[in-house]
């Protein structure tokens, strides 16, 4: 998942980017409103964390502009102003949730996961599809109740595919969303990871959780369980 963090306070922005990267996200950073607006409009982004009090272009203006451009990715606002007036203004402009400064990183992480899951149409942080179960808060994948040992990239791929269960995801989208920009992009690596995931999740090749659509990409093929 690729996140965009627009925050003018360097310490806060870098800390957020570091912790989010550690949590398995690819993170873009912008230090002012102008750069933030450009990134928010031009980069492939799955979620944006936007501070309201930004230099050059205000956070509210960025949100309005992004929504006016038809972008639907979730937006989490950071605000030092705790009055309901500011929160309501942000939410009315098109944001999906807010976090008031100062905050614990766990709070941001929980909101980000919830928003990402919601954008994929899932109601809880546990994504269940057939015997496969992904716990986003614990970053754990299990099949038939048995937890699987996954590398960080394997987890990132299955999380991205499962959140968008049923949608076709191209290799380039996966590379864009999962790698940091400075990472060397090689789509063969994706194939290797998908192959490994298939082996781990479906050693007998009976479940077929990840479908390959030739020339188009991959799709998580299992039906979501009813309660989700």
């Amino acid at each position: 998942m690729r996140l965009l963090v627009i925050e003018d306070d360097d310490t806060l922005r870098e800390m957020l980017a570091k912790r989010l990267t550690e949590a398995g996200f690819a993170v873009e950073q912008a230090a002012d409103g102008k750069e933030g607006l450009y990134f928010a409009q031009e980069y492939p982004v799955d979620l944006a964390i936007i501070d309201l009090g930004l230099p050059e272009v205000s956070g509210l203006d960025i949100i309005r502009q992004v929504r006016a451009d038809g972008k639907t990715y979730p937006i989490l606002i950071l605000t030092a102003r705790d009055r309901w007036e500011d929160k309501v203004d942000g939410l009315s402009a098109g944001a999906d949730d807010y976090v008031v400064k100062p905050f614990h990183f766990e709070e941001i992480s929980a909101r980000v996961n919830a928003l990402l899951r919601r954008s994929g149409g899932w109601a809880s942080s546990q994504l269940d599809a057939g015997p496969v179960s992904l716990d986003m808060s614990r970053q754990e994948l299990s099949v038939n109740g048995a937890a699987l040992e996954l590398t960080s990239f394997e987890y990132k791929i299955i999380e991205y595919l499962m959140v968008r269960a049923g949608q076709v995801i191209s290799k380039s989208e996966l590379t864009d969303r999962l790698y940091d920009q400075d990472f060397e992009r090689d789509s063969n690596v994706i194939e290797v990871f998908i192959g490994r995931l298939r082996k781990k999740m479906d050693p007998d090749n009976t479940l077929k959780p990840i479908e390959t659509l030739r020339g188009r990409g991959y799709r998580f093929a299992l039906e979501r369980n009813q309660s989700d």
Binding site: R83, W84, E85, L91, D97, V100, A114
Partner: protein
């Protein structure tokens, strides 16, 4: 910018000038016309006297006697002149008074007609003349046409008019001056209360007085009352700021001291957790202070109107996003067009905190209702805002404690949030109150009643 007194004096002077100007013009015209009419009547009489004195002589020509009844015809330069001319314009007779003068022939009227005219002598002396053309019967068989003419010099009349004008201007100027003087005295009296306000404000600025005395004419009572309100609200605001700052500084000292103590013991396992606790506490203190009411009732002069249904709709839409997973069901009951006289931020703080708490605690259902409450002599209606939920509710003892205890900055209990304390503070600042009861939905029902804003409080 001219003072009020100068403006009034200038306006009144212009009005007086206009009034007296028109009056003088009317009187002057009336006087001149009446004088001229009198002159015409006199000339008419003199002409009749000439006609009566005229007799044909032996040569069959009309003639006038040496001495006439009007002595002025016989006095040289008397200003009254008589003349008889033939139809051809030849002078047959001229009064002795016109000796050495050439009375202009002027326009001759038609036979049997009078003609008044303004003419002048060769030396520019103005004359009022009356001519009459007659056909005179000399004997039974002969009659001849003649023109009788009398003229009077207008020198004395013009001098009379000029004298009258002089007197008129003199009197009116004196009357205007007296009136302006009286008006400026009156104005001084009228402006006295304003000067008193100015002086009292000066005394307030220098700290010699607390508020305006309130003994002013009816027209200024409202101004004085509003100024006192403004002064009170400014004073209350500055007291509030001082109190808040003082309170904030003191309340931050406790967690700071706690952190310093922790530093000395930084190798303990729960160091991070305990520092975080202190930071949370400081954060809560700052948040509480920042969200305190923006408006105080004394500041009602500058309060806006808040469109209640629009703001509630915005809040509910926002909360639906925030509590997307829980998906609470809102039952909104707000009268369309209801206005709340107060600060928008305060209203959102009241409704936002109550709705946010309800979203946190409810199982599924939340009901919100806002109804107006009217009062006698109210200049803006109040409102009763209530939010109910189907959550676990608030036990009576806890509710009592929440309502009775004043929120002290350094004793906020972690986890209880500061929402209700803020709601209580804001309700109080509008002269309202907060009550907690059991809702029909099964959980808590929190009601905020804001009384109507009356012009007297």
């Amino acid at each position: 910018m001219y003072s009020l007194s100068s403006r009034l004096l200038i306006s009144v002077s212009v009005l007086l000038l206009l009034f007296f100007g028109i009056t003088i013009a009317v009187l002057d015209t009336a006087f001149t016309e009446a004088g001229e009419q009198a002159r015409r009547d006199i000339l008419d009489g003199q002409l009749v006297a000439l006609l009566a004195a005229a007799e044909p002589d032996d040569s069959g020509e009309l003639a006038l006697p040496e001495r006439l009844r009007e002595p002025r015809f016989g006095q040289i330069g008397s200003g009254l002149y008589g003349e008889l001319r033939s139809a051809a314009g030849d002078v047959i007779w001229r009064s002795q008074s016109a000796l050495g003068l050439e009375i202009p022939e002027g326009t001759v009227p038609e036979l049997g007609n009078h003609l008044f005219a303004r003419e002048s002598l060769p030396d520019e002396t103005p004359l009022l003349t009356l001519s009459l053309a007659v056909e005179w019967e000399i004997d039974e068989n002969t009659s001849k046409p003649y023109v009788f003419k009398v003229a009077e010099s207008l020198d004395s009349f013009n001098a009379q008019v000029a004298g009258f004008r002089g007197q008129l201007f003199g009197w009116f100027a004196a009357v205007a001056a007296i009136m302006l003087l009286a008006f400026s005295f009156l104005l001084r009296g009228l402006m006295k209360p304003l000067r008193k306000i100015e002086t009292e404000i000066g005394e307030i600025e220098s700290g010699d007085r607390a508020s305006l005395s309130g003994q002013f004419p009816t027209e200024l009572t409202g101004v004085a009352r509003n100024m006192n309100l403004l002064i009170d609200s400014e004073r209350a605001r500055s007291d509030r700021y001082r109190f808040t700052l003082d309170n904030l500084a003191h309340s931050l000292k406790t967690p700071l001291a706690g952190m310093r103590a922790l530093l000395a013991d930084r190798h303990r396992e729960e160091f991070d957790q305990r520092v975080n606790e202190q930071i949370d506490r400081m954060d809560e203190i700052v948040r509480y202070q920042l969200r305190k009411p923006a408006a105080a009732v004394a500041e009602k002069l500058v309060l806006q109107s808040v469109n209640v249904d629009k703001e509630i709709a915005r809040l509910v839409d926002g909360l639906r996003k925030v509590y997307h997973d829980k998906a609470p069901v809102f039952d909104v009951n707000v009268q369309t067009g209801l206005q709340f006289r107060g600060d928008t931020g305060d209203f959102l703080e009241l409704a936002g905190n109550l709705l946010d708490n309800a979203c946190k605690w409810c199982k599924k259902n939340i009901a919100i209702s806002v109804v107006p409450s009217a009062g006698q002599s109210a200049i803006a209606s109040g409102m009763v805002l209530s939010v109910s939920d189907d959550g676990p509710g608030i036990p009576q003892e806890a509710a009592d404690a929440l309502l009775q205890r004043g929120m002290r900055l350094d004793e906020s209990t972690p986890g209880h949030g500061i929402g209700l304390a803020i709601v209580k503070d804001i309700a109080r600042s509008y002269g309202g109150q907060l009550s907690i009861s059991e809702s029909k939905l099964g959980g808590a029902k929190i009601t905020v009643s804001i009384p109507p804003l009356s012009s007297s409080n």
